[in-house]
């Protein structure tokens, strides 16, 4: 494939530079294209504009201090990164969070998946000129963000998990509020489906655009909605269930086109499945503690810190020295909104990670972007880029 450009002096094509700051890229992505008329004949990508050494920074902070950095990976669904990271640390420590904590994490992850998909479809439609869907979706997104704000005080960079539990338990009345938000969502999804799914312009702009075959998707390491849009029913929540995902009733959504339209349909379907999962969690929310009872991992309650020497010591040691996972290396993955989000962590039994490696789903997907665009027009490339949901924070780390 012509993923490199021909030398300028011998080239018969017009060269065009898009980005790194461009309204259609939704992030700092730089794309060089070679055009013959309006058709893309060559394309080259340049990434790294948002590289901020996440992996290096993680090595100089305690295990819990890494959590705020994970917010900035896929900042559209920060909670999934929080959960993905602490799951890896918990795996290395050999601890299992409480049932209540697991259920809360599932709710937060599914809400995050929904808002991620809302942003993806909404922004994708704006790029193609459909503004109404964007307003419809962002209204719902604000409602979900209000929920997040009530839970942890932050809307975007939540840092809501802790190793062994959560920052804090759910506030009073949160579950009923959540149920209201969740009950409102299907109407918006119906509205947007009415506007887009059978819309002649939307179909013309997205069907057969940015196609990737099953085989190529596997070769490039696609995961998540982009892989499922090619017809491969791979979802980590089903393939390697965690947090009781196998006990909920829900389906993996697949489409067979592998194009922008299929990716749109998969995301729409997935939001409905996520709602189903959240409903089941809300119906069956276990009580009990949110954090595990181990002061070597989780901070003791404040009364204990102020009134007992053990509590004070545990608090001091945890803040000053941090958690000390045993020597070893583990990889753990969760199904994030974009696909397999993996954290490989290596510990040498110190208070700080020896190495934290993120496997960002975007990185693998964006690599295939030139192959999906060559032979199509620039406006098709914009449609394709939006549907891949490339988040620069995760791509560049």
């Amino acid at each position: 494939m012509h993923t490199t450009l021909t030398p300028p002096e011998s080239s018969k094509y017009l060269r065009l530079n898009l980005g790194p700051s461009h309204p259609a890229t939704h992030g700092t992505l730089r794309v060089f294209v070679e055009l013959e008329g309006e058709i893309i004949r060559g394309m080259k990508l340049e990434i790294g504009y948002l590289h901020r050494c996440f992996e290096k920074m993680a090595e100089t902070h305690t295990w819990n201090q890494v959590i705020p950095f994970t917010d900035r990976l896929n900042y559209v669904s920060a909670m999934m990164n929080n959960v993905g990271y602490v799951r890896s640390v918990e795996k290395l420590l050999g601890v299992e969070p409480t049932k209540r904590c697991q259920r809360v994490r599932v709710i937060l992850c599914e809400l995050s998946r929904i808002i991620d998909h809302l942003v993806c479809i909404g922004a994708n439609a704006v790029d193609l000129g459909a503004l109404t869907t964007f307003w419809y979706f962002f209204r719902e997104r604000e409602n979900v963000y209000d929920l997040f704000e009530a839970l942890c005080g932050a809307r975007l960079t939540t840092s809501v998990t802790r190793v062994g539990g959560m920052y804090k338990d759910l506030p009073e009345g949160w579950l009923e509020w959540c149920r209201k938000v969740v009950n409102n969502l299907p109407r918006t999804l119906d509205d947007v489906e009415t506007l887009l799914t059978a819309n002649r312009i939307w179909i013309d702009r997205t069907q057969g655009i940015g196609v990737i075959s099953k085989e190529d998707a596997l070769e490039y390491g696609f995961t998540g909605p982009c892989l499922r849009a090619t017809g491969i029913p791979y979802d980590i929540r089903k393939a390697m269930p965690y947090y009781d995902y196998d006990k909920f009733t829900w389906d993996v959504v697949t489409e067979s086109g592998g194009d922008t339209y299929s990716r749109y349909l998969v995301r729409m379907g997935e939001m409905r499945q996520s709602l189903k999962i959240i409903q089941q969690c809300l119906d069956d929310m276990p009580g009990g503690a949110i954090n595990i009872d181990d002061w070597a991992i989780v901070l003791p309650p404040k009364e204990q810190v102020y009134n007992s020497i053990e509590g004070l010591m545990a608090h001091f040691k945890l803040i000053m020295h941090g958690i000390r996972p045993p020597l070893g290396e583990v990889y753990d993955c969760t199904e994030a909104a974009n696909g397999e989000l993996g954290f490989f962590i290596s510990s040498d039994n110190q208070g700080r990670p020896y190495r934290v490696r993120v496997r960002p789903p975007c990185f693998a997907i964006y690599q295939a972007f030139p192959e999906m665009c060559i032979g199509q027009t620039v406006s098709d490339a914009v449609a394709t880029l939006g549907s891949l949901n490339i988040v620069a924070g995760e791509l560049d780390r």
């Binding site: 490199t4 450009l5 030398p7 300028p8 060269r15 530079n17 730089r30 060089f32 080259k44 340049e46 990434i47 790294g48 590289h51 050494c53 992996e55 290096k56 920074m57 090595e59 100089t60 795996k91 290395l92 050999g94 190529d216 596997l218 070769e219 490039y220 390491g221 995961t223 491969i232 791979y234 393939a239 390697m240 269930p241 020597l327 070893g328 290396e329 583990v330 990889y331 993955c333 397999e340 993996g342 490989f344 290596s346 040498d348 039994n349 110190q350 020896y354 190495r355 490696r357 496997r359 990185f363 693998a364 690599q367 295939a368 560049d396 780390r397």
Partner: protein, 174 residues
């Protein structure tokens, strides 16, 4: 589920062809994950085998990254390692392949033609650790800027050292 799958994989290892057997240096089980350390020379043979053999069919290369064991608490055979993470979707199996690379000869064979995904991941490992991938078509920096000196994720690179880009990134000849 994951655990039993990795055990299955470990039990299949003794029945492998001789050339694959000799390439394997160690098989390790930790927290239900299998890590296979192999000889650097046989990397491509082993990966090709794992990808195409009908019993394994590791169809996805999920991740590729490097490690620097310079300050690691437990002794390792060499300073650097390249880690490949292969996934078989149809069997839900996962395996980690590890290749140790010595500081004097920081070269590993590229697998960009075996998995298309490897292209950028190898560029990243070169950028951050300075590991050369033999046969890679375009081994240039990917995350750091083009004036960057050194490899930032190495353990002897100071974590507070800045390198500013002095001139604009050219759009010609890229």
């Amino acid at each position: 589920m994951q655990e039993t799958d990795t055990k299955l994989l470990a039990s299949a290892l003794p029945n492998l062809p001789a050339e694959i057997q000799t390439a394997i240096l160690a098989v390790e089980e930790f927290k239900g994950e299998t890590t296979i350390t192999i000889r650097k020379e046989n990397l491509r043979t082993v990966i090709q085998f794992l990808k195409t053999d009908p019993n394994f069919r590791f169809d996805v290369m999920m991740d590729l990254f490097a490690m620097d064991y310079l300050k690691y608490n437990s002794p390792q055979p060499e300073r650097f390692a390249v880690v490949y993470y292969l996934v078989s979707l149809f069997q839900t199996r996962r395996v980690r392949i590890k290749v140790f690379v010595s500081e004097d000869e920081l070269v590993v064979d590229s697998i960009h033609d075996l998995y298309k995904a490897a292209n950028w991941f190898e560029r990243e490992a070169w950028d951050l650790y300075g590991i050369v991938f033999n046969g890679h078509p375009n081994l240039v920096r990917i995350l750091c800027h083009n004036e960057f000196v050194g490899h930032p994720l190495r353990k002897d690179y100071p974590s507070d050292q800045y390198q500013r880009l002095k001139s604009a990134v050219p759009s010609e000849g890229l």
